[in-house]
């Protein structure tokens, strides 16, 4: 017996989260809880917190909870480190039935003690998970006493999975980062090197780059060349010490706004460090961002050097990009990524390549970001929040997308539909930032769009069999 009937339409409760450029007001419902049973692609608060904090290389990342939450996040991200490797281990208190019944505080205490003794980390992050939120372990108290015992910071991360979504996890992580920054700041104040006078007049913090495939290193190098020291990167290849020193910068520049907006706000509020939104995704954005940062710091020499760098690098990559563009012009792309910042940058970057975006969506985009997307998108583009596989399928097929940009879960869907795919997630192994990244990106787009395999999925000899075709019938 089968339930329901074939409609091909999304479920009614989802209508308000799906829009089309030109056909309606420029807003979508977003930021709401996922609809039960709709098979959302979203992860949880803990996931968001882990994304942001995980790249802190010398920290012990201890997941207080049952094993699953830790095993599914063990070394799944491509953040690189120039030194410590501790962050690549997944530590879990592996809560069992009796812990759930009698509470997990003692186990947590022992776990922290053992880990500190074994690894001597400068800081321990203790992530809370769903059941910890329910069984009522007092993380704050356990951490505080461990902190005193070991004379290092042991910080609870309020990442109970059900209390919001990934974006709330970003905020929880930012709170932790703030705590570390503030403690560093306090110490400097006590040592008498406080206030704006202790700041390096040119140094910047770089927020929202997780050093996937060395991306933060690439950007840091650009700034080094034009004479701007990068103080702290949040959080790619960062350490406890580097985060503590973040208060010394004159300016914050922020790439991934979804995860870092909150931290930037706090830092402005508490230390008076202003923030500039940047993007190093694509040629135009990269050049533009370098110029704006240089201009902000108002040093002529720097501006001049920035121009030099931009000219030199553009010179190098433009012919390549032009060549790719010639091949790819007129292709259609669909985008489904985690945050709004990335989606916006991608729409622009596809513009550079002459590729039309026919669908764009995010898991946790914010209202302003959707407005920007509506502005940027071309007429008729489908824009959607917290989509599910069946919507992705529907719109990719209806809009005739040749290419999808997404994460691990979206990839097999695209491939099953015979659609090319770009991995734009945290486990990527090649950099997509800066001038180098722009070429890599174009190269990857080319590789997946023009692979000979599509010749076989789209046409050629096909055997029909009971309504299926192994290959594609219509060509």
């Amino acid at each position: 017996m089968r339930a329901g009937k074939e409609t091909g339409m999304p479920i009614a409760e989802r209508f308000e989260s799906i829009g089309r450029k030109g056909r309606q007001k420029k807003t979508l419902r977003c930021g709401a809880d996922s609809l039960a049973g709709s098979v959302s692609q979203r992860a949880c608060v803990y996931c968001g917190a882990r994304v942001v904090l995980n790249p802190v290389t010398d920290a012990v990342h201890l997941v207080h909870g049952p094993i699953g939450c830790a095993v599914y996040t063990w070394d799944i991200r491509g953040s690189l480190s120039s030194d410590a490797e501790l962050y690549r281990s997944s530590f879990s208190t592996d809560l069992k039935e009796r812990d759930v019944v009698f509470g997990g505080e003692e186990k947590l205490t022992r776990a922290i003690d053992q880990l500190v003794e074994k690894y001597h980390p400068p800081v321990v992050f203790v992530y809370s998970t769903c059941i910890v939120g329910v069984i009522g372990d007092d993380l704050e108290a356990v951490c505080k006493s461990a902190s005193r015992r070991h004379a290092i910071e042991v910080i609870p991360v309020e990442s109970t999975g059900f209390s919001g979504n990934k974006a709330d996890g970003y905020r929880a992580a930012c709170d932790v980062l703030m705590r570390v920054i503030a403690s560093g700041q306090r110490e400097r104040e006590e040592a008498g090197e406080s206030g704006s006078s202790s700041r390096d007049e040119l140094a910047i913090n770089y927020l929202g780059d997780f050093n996937l495939a060395g991306e933060a290193w690439i950007i840091r190098d650009y700034f080094r060349e034009i004479g701007i020291p990068v103080n702290t990167v949040f959080t790619g290849d960062s350490t406890y010490e580097s985060i503590r020193g973040a208060g010394r910068a004159r300016l914050n520049i922020m790439q991934c706004a979804g995860s870092m907006n909150y931290l930037a706000g706090k830092m402005e509020e508490q230390f008076g460090i202003p923030c500039l939104q940047v993007s190093f995704v694509g040629l135009t954005d990269t050049a533009d961002s370098l110029r704006r940062v240089a201009a902000f710091l108002g040093d002529e020499k720097i501006c001049w050097r920035a121009e030099e760098l931009i000219a030199r690098e553009s010179e190098k990559v433009k012919p390549l990009i032009r060549e790719y563009r010639r091949k790819m012009k007129g292709k259609k792309a669909a985008i489904y990524v985690g945050g709004g910042f990335k989606a916006i940058s991608l729409v622009r970057q596809f513009g550079e390549l002459g590729i039309d975006v026919v669908m764009v969506g995010t898991q946790t985009g914010r209202k302003e970001e959707y407005e920007t997307l509506f502005d940027l998108a071309s007429e008729g583009t489908v824009i959607l929040d917290d989509a599910n596989p069946s919507e992705l399928e529907k719109f990719m097929v209806e809009e005739g997308a040749d290419l999808l940009v997404g994460g691990v879960k979206e990839r097999p869907l695209a491939y099953k539909l015979g659609v090319a795919f770009i991995d734009h997630n945290h486990d990527r192994k090649h950099p997509l930032s800066g001038f180098t990244g722009a070429v890599n990106f174009a190269g990857e787009v080319y590789t997946t769009l023009f692979s000979p395999v599509w010749k076989f999925t789209r046409g050629g000899e096909v055997w029909e069999n009971g309504g299926y075709s192994y290959g594609r019938a219509s060509c």
């Binding site: 049973g37 803990y46 699953g68 022992r110």
Partner: protein, 472 residues
């Protein structure tokens, strides 16, 4: 046999196992037109989908009741019901599995009651809704898997007239191995019901148009009629009390149960074929005799290389047991055998195996021991330490073992679930005589690779002293 003392460990460093619900998802993917809904917060199901999807390279759609703060405090009934509604609207499944998570279990959700009520309210009384309580903190994914199979049976199986088929119950193995088991059954002329069967659904051919629920899987009617089978062959020698679907069929419907190891390895495959022969009474077809002969030939060809192998084997108990047997019958010494769960039965089984093969073997590992240590509730930290102490030069297991390669330089033969850092996890072929042959080749070639790469350099360093011509 030695056993690493796992007193009450407080911290798991780089886990070897997963949580219960992820294991329970898989059997549902092997039942025709079925879907799964996980009652709990959104994150769990997304993580599990990602984990499974990356192994099989297939879309893995799993619903979540997306419990939020309110649902957690006041109960998630409304969420669960709405989740079922939407899942039905989108997928039109013929069966739905409802699993729980740590969260749902901790707040005491009664999925049986809610499920019953839901069906009554929607006037779907006959719809097969299969509930499986799977608290992540309860057991590992292996128990989740077998419990789901058992619950599917408990919901669907009906007293049926005898139909002459046999039931074949399998643990979590690759679609390639499922296909091989089916091929062996067919060659042996046995009519069967295989449960679960995700050989098509989780390794689906490229077809057009795309189907949200891929075709394939064990048919519901076949499952209903399993009580009418002549016997049950269950590849589940390591199954613990309460988690054995075969036992359920035996106790409820008197279907005779034969527990056997996975047909990986010569002896294990022999056991399987011999059992089938008992059913048919017919001689083993020529084609299988040839395959067996070819495996034997391969074993002989490689036996000296294999003797250099000192391996650490890890993963799910059933697979680990079959792999240990395969290694032992080829002279590859397992120095440690690890599993993430408790694996109580596994220990005794390994003991017997070891006694048969290696009881009085000389210790060629420079005092590092002959027989395997057994590491229950293992994580990769313990495995790494043990592998180093006991001089392992080979690891066999899922892709978590890349850690042993990275940290200790021990090469990994990838096997089991999950495989995340290579393609083709779903196609890893190791069952039957043919599969064992390629499995063995993978082991031997990994050992050879190690031996041949750099042996000139090694020997030069070890033995060459001084100049070329002593007289010059």
């Amino acid at each position: 046999m030695e056993e690493q003392a796992v007193s009450y460990r407080s911290v798991n460093e780089n886990p070897c196992h997963m949580c219960m619900p992820i294991g329970a998802i898989l059997p549902f993917k092997g039942v025709e037109r079925s879907m799964v809904l996980i009652h709990g917060s959104q994150g769990c199901s997304t993580y599990m989908r990602r984990h499974i999807s990356e192994h099989f390279n297939e879309p893995v759609d799993v619903g979540s009741s997306s419990l939020n703060e309110k649902g957690t405090v006041y109960g998630g009934e409304a969420n669960l019901k709405q989740g079922l509604d939407n899942l039905i609207k989108i997928y039109h499944p013929s069966l739905i599995g409802v699993l729980t998570t740590c969260l749902a279990e901790t707040i005491g959700e009664d999925i049986d009651r809610i499920g019953q009520e839901y069906l009554r309210e929607r006037k779907m009384d006959n719809f097969p809704l299969v509930t499986v309580p799977t608290p992540g903190y309860g057991h590992s994914h292996s128990e989740g898997f077998s419990l789901a199979v058992k619950r599917i049976l408990a919901r669907l199986a009906r007293k049926s007239p005898s139909h002459g088929r046999i039931n074949v119950l399998v643990p979590n193995i690759s679609p390639a191995d499922l296909r091989e088991i089916k091929r062996l059954l067919e060659i042996m002329g046995v009519r069967y019901t295989l449960l679960p069967d995700f050989s098509e659904t989780l390794d689906a051919p490229f077809t057009s148009p795309y189907h949200k629920i891929p075709s394939g899987g064990t048919g519901l009617n076949s499952i209903r009629e399993m009580p009418g089978a002549i016997a049950t062959l269950q590849m589940g020698v390591t199954l613990e009390e309460g988690f054995s679907p075969g036992k359920y069929l035996e106790e409820e419907y008197r279907v005779p149960l034969f527990n056997l190891p996975l047909p990986i390895g010569l002896e294990n495959t022999d056991t399987f074929i011999r059992s089938l022969q008992k059913v048919t009474g017919a001689p083993v077809p020529e084609i299988l005799l040839k395959e067996r002969g070819r495996l034997l030939d391969a074993m002989v060809d490689a036996h000296k290389y294999n003797f250099a192998g000192r391996c650490i084997i890890f993963g799910e108990p059933e697979l680990v047991y079959a792999m240990a047997g395969t290694c032992l019958e080829n002279g590859v010494t397992p120095v440690a055998v690890a599993t993430g769960g408790k694996g109580a039965k596994l220990k005794t089984l390994l003991q017997t195996l070891r006694d048969r093969y290696a009881a009085d073997a000389p210790d060629t590992g420079n005092g590092k021991g002959v027989g395997p240590v057994f590491l229950p509730e293992a994580d990769f930290d313990i495995m790494r330490r043990t592998a180093r102490e006991r001089g392992a030069n080979l690891a066999i297991g899922h892709s978590g073992g890349k850690y042993l390669t990275e940290k200790e330089g021990i090469p990994l033969v990838r096997m089991g679930f999950p495989i995340h850092d290579r393609v083709g996890g779903q196609r890893i072929f190791s069952a039957g005589y043919a599969g064992t042959t390629v499995f063995l080749d993978r082991i031997t070639n990994t050992l050879l690779e190690r031996k041949l790469s750099g042996y000139r350099e090694r020997i030069y360093r070890q033995f060459y002293r001084g100049k070329k011509y002593d007289l010059v």
